[in-house]
Symmetry: C2
């Protein structure tokens, strides 16, 4: 092999002969919206798959390629898009002489009713990750989860491994004296994968469902590694809302503070302290009063606010802070 790292004095971007490598590139879209207290992702109906399309030469850039076809085909205004991750693991596809590079993007929108006219649908992301919703305390599926984890821990070959597994499970799932940290979505998914508590772990393994462990943890699987991509996106979003004002991409033009709070809680999967939440939002001058009120609250009418778009310019990067314990 030539030594591209240090020896090359020729142009470093040496292009491998196209015949030698069969590489294709895919764009995968993780579109998120929050509707009636539910964080939802756009999926291809009956497939449990994220929408994806080929990256083509016609596209000016990766992001513009993604933006173009998402907006054209869903009619949704994709306000915020960011690159999520690029995958190219060999075991993602069956073929050994074929390689697909998948570049995933995270987009934030508002759900629109018409999406049903396409063969796509919005699904709550907690359908795929029921253990991630701690808004109503410990989810009911927690028992299955715990016993699954206990089995995995018990199945360790030796004492040291067993102890490590116990510690890791406790830390990630907030057992024993650990606090629940809502950002560890991907690590939790990876542990469950390792513990073979989710169906994806048995694929292409020669293993049939019969050789599976006693019971899978509840939660719908997705094709290929799409559920992993979703976990990556949830983790990213949960981290990001704490220091950048991205929640507003998911809100309608005007909203009450409680609606905003519910949206944040939906994403984070846990509840926040109301008075503190309001203080934080108002102190940072993220919103401005519209003068109008909403009567649809069931109690005292709530002021309607609007996002002060100016903050995006004022603090290109500086932060929104949201009240979370954060481990």
């Amino acid at each position: 092999m030539s030594d591209p790292l240090v020896k090359s004095t020729a142009p470093v971007h040496s292009v491998a002969p196209a015949s030698a490598q069969a590489i294709a590139a895919d764009l995968i879209a993780l579109l998120v919206a929050v509707t009636s207290g539910d964080p939802r992702v756009l999926t291809i109906q009956d497939q449990n798959a994220l929408p994806s399309g080929p990256f083509e030469l016609a596209h000016r850039s990766l992001q513009s390629g993604l933006r173009a076809w998402v907006e054209r085909q869903t009619g949704l205004p994709v306000g915020y898009v960011e690159q999520l991750y690029t995958f190219a693991d060999r075991d993602r596809t069956g073929a050994a002489d074929q390689r697909i590079i998948s570049i995933s993007y995270l987009g934030l929108t508002r759900e629109q009713a018409e999406s049903s006219q396409y063969e796509a649908s919005w699904r709550s992301w907690y359908d795929y990750f029921p253990w991630e919703d701690h808004r109503l305390g410990i989810p009911t599926m927690e028992k299955t989860l715990r016993s699954g984890l206990a089995e995995w821990i018990a199945a360790a070959p030796d004492r040291t491994t067993r102890s490590h597994r116990r510690q890791r499970a406790a830390r990630l799932f907030g057992l024993e004296d650990h606090l629940w940290n809502e950002e560890l979505v991907l690590q939790r998914y990876e542990l469950l994968y390792e513990a073979r508590l989710i169906p994806e772990a048995l694929r292409g393994d020669g293993a049939t469902l019969e050789t599976a462990v006693a019971a899978f943890v509840p939660g719908d699987p997705m094709i290929l590694d799409h559920r992993r991509i979703l976990a990556t996106g949830i983790a990213r979003l949960r981290a990001k809302i704490k220091y950048r004002p991205v929640v507003f991409e998911l809100m309608p033009d005007t909203f009450t503070l409680l609606q905003l709070q519910r949206c944040v809680e939906a994403l984070a999967g846990k509840l926040v302290h109301k008075p503190n939440f309001r203080r934080l939002i108002e102190q940072q001058e993220l919103v401005e009063d519209t003068g109008e009120t909403s009567q649809e609250t069931g109690g005292r009418p709530a002021k309607l606010f609007r996002f002060r778009r100016a903050v995006l310019a004022e603090r290109a990067i500086a932060g929104t802070k949201l009240p979370f314990s954060g481990a």
Copy 2:
């Protein structure tokens, strides 16, 4: 065009015919080390280029591909590697029917002397971004920078644009009453690019050096968009050291607290308050005393510490906090 986003019911990972698209994939490595108070990047000698190599079918995954050839060819222990960004802009290469997807990675190591035996060398990243070093106050090149910005602002076609430009420059470069925010590396680079104050901006433009603005801002250019990748990496690292204990990947096994502080300051490009820095490090129990001391300090001998690797397990994600104003 088929509608891959919502209409497809066939496997979503449809592979585009290999003949139709000529797509190749490259891995680009941004390797960082901090030596004698200087944050350095590995470059290919005399080329001002980041090392890069083709992604091959033999590689198990993107990261393992990168790891493999970096470690084999530099002999460096690449402790920490993370994916940085994936680029595929059309104007990155000359050819219109050829497309290269570049997946860049950020790696942290310790510089080793032998690297000179290869045709690679470590360069201070402030050679490429002199305006990013605020450790000794305002850098001396600031005057050139300011006058360049002033010209760009004055050249605005109308009053509104002029006002926007002024605001943006002030915010990004800490002028007027704005504070310097060390994380905005990429945004500053992009502004300078737009303002055509750096040579890369004139490439492939038909423009010759003669039509350039009065003077470029100091700082070495790099090939293609490598300087942009470097800016992305610096920004990422400056943000990351604040909430994750990655600095230690750049430190020797044992070190004094001042050495650690100097390393952080080198990365951040600004100084931190010594007593508070120490308090933060010790409070979080990131380090442990080795019992030994270092006499090479010039004053009172300093205790030697070692990173408590256990924290990586304890708090998979939870944070290191470092004292910065942060805008």
